[in-house]
């Protein structure tokens, strides 16, 4: 049973930060009172937000110092504009300077904000480079996905450039939104209204099963907090051997599954006896299944 006040999905960006960090430990950078708003939206007749849709700052989680960014999915779908992007980039660059035990990115976004498209796209490249710089400085970057927008577009590439990804069952991680594929390629290619198909293709369970994300949790603030804590202070290697290992993993995936038409085909080939049952499993049962698969493999 889900208790509403603990839901990560239902919470705003600010509530997520409050819910994950130690009480009263959060100090915001360039907060709403500074009114650093989008310089581009007013000309388009669009309302601005005082934080441009992202909260950035520092705090502690179980006493361990972290930097944190939280995208507000309710403002323009969490999309990345010039200021929004610069805040995340600046936070990641700060990480390389001050070396916290982790940077935590709570991503809830459709990708580039089309109203300031070019600035948003270049910002994606800057965020990614800053994330990798933080990692090279030895600071692990942890992504959490569990909001209404999932994590799409350029931010899905950023997410996979970080050390660890945690997602709730509601989380989705993909470069293209289902609507975009349907609009451009037709409903035969992707029926965006078919929610079960969306989840089997882009959802957190499929992503966990193919090795795109590292932890699946229930939609609960405490579950996210525990999962984040598990990765704090644990950078992953980023050298040539690590890149070769990643290349081997991705190449093997394409060899094994390229002819699969559906997530269920992939799961069956992974050795899951009843792939049709996967979507209904709760987080604990699902993680038990993942554990059994990984145990059987080693």
């Amino acid at each position: 049973m889900r208790v509403a006040r603990h839901s990560f999905y239902e919470a705003t960006a600010r509530r997520r930060v409050d819910g994950l960090l130690d009480q009263n430990s959060f100090r915001e950078f360039c907060g709403p009172a500074a009114r650093i708003v989008s310089p581009h939206l007013p000309a388009l007749g669009m309302p601005v937000a005082f934080d441009d849709g992202v909260v950035v700052g520092e705090g502690t989680i179980d006493g361990r110092k972290v930097l944190i960014a939280a995208q507000e999915g309710g403002f323009m779908g969490g999309a990345v504009g010039e200021v929004h992007g610069a805040k995340i980039t600046g936070l990641l660059e700060r990480a390389a300077d001050v070396k916290p035990e982790a940077v935590v990115l709570l991503l809830d976004t459709g990708g580039v904000r089309l109203h300031e498209a070019n600035a948003g796209l270049v910002a994606m490249g800057e965020i990614q480079r800053a994330a990798l710089s933080a990692r090279h400085a030895g600071v692990p970057v942890i992504v959490a996905i569990g909001g209404k927008n999932g994590c799409y577009g350029g931010m899905s590439i950023v997410a996979r450039s970080c050390d660890w990804i945690i997602a709730s069952e509601e989380g989705r991680l993909s470069i293209s939104g289902p609507e975009v594929i349907e609009t451009v390629e037709g409903i035969e290619e992707f029926d965006a209204q078919d929610r079960a198909l969306v989840w089997r293709t882009m959802g957190a369970k499929h992503r966990r099963l193919i090795g795109e994300i590292d932890a699946l949790v229930a939609d609960d603030m405490g579950a996210f907090r525990s999962a984040i804590l598990n990765f704090v202070g644990r950078p992953r290697p980023l050298d040539l051997d690590a890149l070769e290992a990643e290349h081997a993993m991705l190449s093997r995936r394409l060899e094994r599954f390229w002819d699969c038409a559906d997530g269920r085909d992939v799961w069956a080939r992974l050795g899951i006896n009843d792939p049709a049952a996967v979507p209904a499993l709760d987080a604990d049962s699902f993680n038990g299944l993942v554990g059994a698969l990984e145990g059987g493999r080693s």
Binding site: T89, S156, H247
Partner: protein, 241 residues
């Protein structure tokens, strides 16, 4: 060979000579060419390719090989794409993870001392530009090419801003509309290579760089992206306001 492909070949010939050694496999370009007496790895795509999971991995392999074979060897990334591939299969395979892998390989090459230069030929779109040009040290465009996030008509539909209004605003604000000139102004492109391509490439290979991301500063000095540099610096300093 299509007109665009032969135009691409002319560019390679002009830079590296008739026997440039760059091989086309479907839309993918890979090879080791010679420039001023030293080896240069060429990776990229042609014919407005779409970057699918398989394409991303093929390009990543060439970048990994360059790092393994010869530390410091320059890499030219030829950018010609219509974006990432929009398909159910690519999403099922997690195209974002495969593209992230390509960009991480390019990033690793930069940090290990390979000069990574991008060159947009014909077209670069959104995720396709992020997969390639945005992961280079310096990215340029050839005259007549285009860089964009989305075609104006589609952008008008999604943003619900009338097309004529959007085009009117694009004329005065470089963050909004497509075009190489706009991407130069926001700092996403270094400049245009017209005239002597070898001279341009030579300059890009020898330019002293310290590894800092200069794109925000460029966008600020060129008046195309005035807020980003200041905001990022304030957050980096941990400023309350």
């Amino acid at each position: 060979m299509s007109e665009a492909a032969s135009a691409m070949d002319r560019v390679l010939v002009e830079l590296f000579g008739e026997d440039h050694g760059v091989v086309r496999d479907a839309a993918t370009l890979t090879g080791v060419a010679r420039f001023d007496g030293r080896a240069v790895t060429v990776v990229g795509t042609a014919d407005r390719a779409v970057i699918g999971a398989d394409v991303a991995l093929r390009l990543a392999r060439a970048v990994l090989d360059a790092m393994r074979d010869e530390p410091g060897r320059p890499i030219l990334v030829v950018v010609d794409n219509a974006g990432h591939r929009l398909s159910r299969r690519d999403e099922l395979m997690a195209n974002n993870g495969c593209i992230a892998h390509l960009t991480r390989c390019l990033d690793a090459a930069r940090r290990r001392g390979h000069r990574v230069v991008g060159l947009v030929h014909d077209l670069a779109v959104s995720g396709g530009f992020m997969a390639t040009g945005l992961s280079t040290d310096l990215c340029y465009a050839l005259p007549g090419s285009e860089v964009r996030v989305m075609a104006p008509a589609a952008m008008a539909r999604v943003t619900k801003i009338p097309l004529d209004r959007l085009e009117e605003l694009s004329a005065v604000n470089p963050v909004l509309g497509p075009g190489v000139e706009n991407f130069i102004r926001v700092g996403g492109l270094e400049g245009v290579w017209d005239g002597d391509l070898m001279a341009h490439f030579r300059e890009a290979l020898s330019r002293p760089l310290d590894g800092a991301d200069m794109r925000r500063a460029l966008g600020e000095s060129r008046g195309g992206r005035s807020a980003a540099a200041r905001v990022a610096a304030a957050v980096r300093a941990g400023a309350a306001a």
